[in-house]
């Protein structure tokens, strides 16, 4: 039982300065895309970033970062996360390092399903927070740990809330939504969850807000518009920004490390040219401006 851990922060967080969760009650609104882009934006600012994927039955982050075929290694200290990008090792680069931990690395076949009930998922998350060695390598610390979550307010969320209960101060949660009412209805539930478990809310990002037609530049609101902003106004939360639908971002993910095209660039470098970069940069600046204290 957990009686012996009461009052102590999870071991893996002892070298982590800031913890940010990415949450949404609704599925498919772009939690993983937002996590990916937030991570890259922070790396671009020279921070060392770790990403923990606790979506156990549908891990997408290994695919997002183009590291599906990598493996997690066990060291004497614990599990070593997969290195996605090492900016610190490149000369004249001001970028930081990026590493990722996901259950996706521990499943043999990418097609096989993880059919787990609650207690097993809880145990896995607990292990992630206990055994992963963040900030290994040259830097002994991690500036930001981003935690990507599955949709809903269930086992995974209760587990992570329990684990982080003693890890305060954590920065809080970024809430992702899409503009339509069906999505914001679920997101409201997630915000109530945050209040119940004492996660501060950094703000709301409205993803998939509008699509700019590549032929005529007309902006169509495929999933209506303005839902995120209305939500923030009614609940008095910070609105972090609108991210438009950008098919080229999906393309970036699918074509990164594509050796057949002679382009062996990682997503972090490819993202430099994405139209989403300035938008996301602004979002990250808003979060950094809140100036939360470091945990260590």
């Amino acid at each position: 039982m957990e009686t012996e851990t009461i009052g102590e922060a999870p071991v893996s967080l002892k070298n982590v300065k800031h913890v940010i969760l990415i949450l949404s009650g609704k599925g498919g609104v772009g939690k993983s895309s937002v996590t990916t882009q937030t991570a890259i934006s922070l790396v671009n600012k020279g921070f060392n970033v770790g990403v923990l994927d606790i979506d156990l039955t549908g891990p997408s982050l290994p695919r997002m970062f183009g590291v599906e075929d990598k493996q997690v290694f066990q060291s004497t200290a614990g599990w070593v996360p997969v290195k996605v990008y090492e900016g610190k090792k490149q000369e004249d680069s001001k970028k930081g390092n990026l590493s990722l931990m996901s259950l996706g690395f521990l499943i043999g076949n990418r097609n096989s399903s993880v059919v787990w009930r609650g207690p097993k998922k809880t145990a896995m998350i607990r292990q992630f927070l206990k055994d992963v060695v963040w900030g290994g390598g040259d830097d002994k610390h991690l500036d930001y740990l981003l935690i990507d979550t599955p949709p809903g307010t269930s086992d995974e969320h209760i587990a992570i809330a329990e684990e982080l209960r003693w890890a305060q101060p954590i920065d809080g949660a970024i809430i992702v939504t899409t503009p339509q009412q069906v999505a914001t209805a679920d997101v409201r539930k997630e915000i109530n969850f945050c209040k119940k478990v004492n996660f501060g809310i950094l703000g709301v990002i409205e993803n998939m807000s509008g699509f700019i037609c590549p032929y005529c530049s007309e902006c169509t609101s495929i999933f209506s518009s303005g839902g995120g902003k209305t939500l923030c106004e009614s609940l008095d939360l910070t609105f972090l920004g609108n991210l438009p639908i950008d098919p080229t971002f999906v393309e970036l993910i699918e074509t990164q490390n594509d050796k057949s095209k002679g382009e062996n660039k990682s997503l972090v470098d490819l993202y430099d040219d994405s139209p989403l970069k300035p938008v996301m940069n602004e979002v990250v600046e808003k979060i950094l401006a809140k100036n939360y204290p470091s945990r260590i």
């Binding site: 399903s113 609650g118 307010t153 339509q180 009412q181 069906v182 005529c216 169509t220």
Partner: protein, 331 residues
């Protein structure tokens, strides 16, 4: 018997929360596995659980025996349009006044069906015979947890075991009337408690099969493959796959763009690869989102739109698939 009198074995008698690696109090090896050693519930699990089948199973079987076709709507990925498609399917089938349709929303943490079917804010009534669903049309009933919440914004922070209890009650206690032609079961994303429970509980009554919903991009197909693997493990027939959000036609210039690019061939390729029927693709249409938000029937207002035709084609293909299968069985 009133529904509340039936005790839920899996929940009420445990002394402590389930430990790590718990085989599940309902499992056959409950109380006997290595993980059970030292668990405060061990004795309860090992001794008090009825040996043999769960007595509720026959009640569920009885309740579901009035239903002709039971269809699960599944997808490993969230936000691909499971609920949207369930609601479209419900509207489309219920357009025929002689067919009775029921829609069951098993997404307990994020129920969307009531909003999409225009039943937001309704409540479920409890009677002697059980819970009666909310009727949005004469022949279309809906059941969802959102009819039971005190406030639409309240979060349902439940662990798996508790969700299983509610799913069992939905199957056991909801009164669908004398006869129901179709029961459409909308599920949450993933392959976890809800999916295991609904397939276990409905096994005896029989599930016609699963409709898989996906979007064209690989990130989504990746999770959908896992769901298909789950269906195979759980012995659920796959009725077919529908690719949602494939392509978008600009209302201004009619130029078509692929917002979620099928870089690996999309749903069609996946179906060929895994040998499952491809039912069709449905384009993105902003009016679908609007219709869902307001809970109106999309077909009523935009019957001639390409999206509506595409959806109706999928519905026809799906129904053909089910009914052909039934004929085979009766021979």
């Amino acid at each position: 018997m009133a529904p509340s009198q039936v005790q839920d074995i899996s929940n009420t008698q445990l002394e402590a929360p389930e430990p790590e690696h718990c085989p599940g109090p309902e499992s056959e090896s409950a109380g006997k596995e290595d993980a059970c050693q030292g668990c405060p519930n061990q004795n309860i699990c090992a001794s008090q659980l009825p040996q043999g089948p769960d007595p509720d199973m026959s009640l569920i079987h009885q309740r579901l025996s009035v239903i002709d076709h039971k269809i699960l709507v599944l997808s490993g990925k969230g936000g691909v349009g499971k609920s949207t498609f369930t609601s479209m399917l419900a509207w489309a089938i219920a357009a025929d006044e002689d067919i009775e349709v029921g829609a069951m929303d098993l997404d307990i943490c994020g129920p969307s069906l009531p909003l999409m079917l225009g039943a937001n804010g309704e409540t479920v009534h409890q009677s002697n015979s059980g819970w009666s669903p909310v009727y949005v049309a004469d022949n279309l009933g809906v059941i969802s947890i959102s009819f039971m919440l005190p406030d639409p914004d309240s979060a349902v922070i439940w662990r798996g075991a508790k969700k299983n209890g509610l799913i069992k009650q939905f199957l056991k206690d909801v009164t669908w009337g004398e006869h129901l032609d179709y029961l459409l079961v909308d599920t949450p994303p993933g392959t976890s408690d809800e999916h295991l429970s609904v397939t276990n509980y409905m096994k005896e009554a029989g599930i016609d099969g699963a409709l898989i919903v996906t979007t064209p991009q690989e990130v989504s197909l990746l999770d959908v493959r896992k769901e298909i693997d789950f269906c195979r493990k759980a012995n659920i027939r796959i009725l077919g796959l529908v690719e949602n959000m494939s392509g978008f036609v600009c209302p201004n210039c009619k130029g078509e763009s692929f917002i979620f690019k099928p870089t690996t061939g999309g749903g069609r390729k996946l179906c060929e690869e895994l040998g499952i029927p491809f039912l069709g693709s449905v384009p993105l249409d902003p009016r679908i989102a609007k219709a869902c938000d307001s809970g109106e029937c999309f077909f009523n207002d935009y019957a001639d739109s390409p999206a509506a035709t595409a959806i109706l084609d999928v519905v026809d293909a799906l129904r053909d698939n089910i009914e052909v299968n039934m004929k085979k069985l009766s021979i």
